[in-house]
Symmetry: C2
Subunit: 137 residues, 2 copies
């Protein structure tokens, strides 16, 4: 399904998803049309889900990043999962196995902002906040 050439294309796109088909083709020795066809197939088969921009949130005045582990109260899980999608500070959410059952990645302007978010989350479960100091990788 996904051959060696597809993997090469994906590697290139991981580094810069805005490259033209022509440029990608030059990098891996393939004609632009073939690159296009392959990327089209990768999109159609849902292997490629989308293309994102990597932003420097520090410069956008979002200085605070944190992971929040939530132990959701019994019976509150489905409503919590619904609410998540409307809280824009939550940039990623995963259900997990363990003592807590939801893992959030959140992006905030400052400590007050974090406090407000935690206040909202407390209605759904017990929270444990892991404040990010720096991105290492």
């Amino acid at each position: 399904m996904v051959d060696k050439i597809d993997v090469k294309i994906l590697e290139v796109l991981k580094n810069n998803s805005r490259l033209s088909f022509a440029e990608i083709g030059r990098m891996i020795n393939l004609s632009p049309s073939s690159v296009r066809e392959r990327i089209q197939k990768l999109e159609d088969s849902q292997i490629i889900l989308g293309y994102n921009v990597n932003l420097n949130y520090k410069l956008l005045e979002y200085d605070l990043e944190a992971f929040i582990l939530v132990k959701v109260f019994h019976g509150k899980l489905t409503s919590f999962l619904n609410v998540l999608n409307h809280i824009e500070e939550i940039v990623e959410a995963h259900r997990i196995i363990g003592n807590q059952n939801v893992h959030l990645k959140v992006l905030l302007k400052n400590q007050i902002h974090l406090q407000e978010l935690i206040d909202r989350l407390m209605a759904f479960g017990d929270t444990q906040t892991l404040l990010v100091l720096s991105k290492v990788k």
Copy 2:
């Protein structure tokens, strides 16, 4: 520094970073050249750090995703931070505040693969693994 129009452009790029300048311009009523100039500036000022592809790792046979919290042994932190970059299963790493001091996001093919990774990490600190069940957001 970053005005209303820039924010609009960033919103568009968040949803699809592969759109042409012309298309972005059409969406926000700006000429292609202006879109280009603004994006160039956002890149130059390091507000835009790069463009990524969002992959469906399940279809690429990476069925297992986990977060690993590491309480690094005293004196091992710098060597651990160096090693991180050479372990390709670790897709993201953050230094955090709390009982543990490093938060990892890892991507694996299966449980054996996870076990091998944890064995390697155990040389540097105590680990707590949060296995991902599903992505909720």
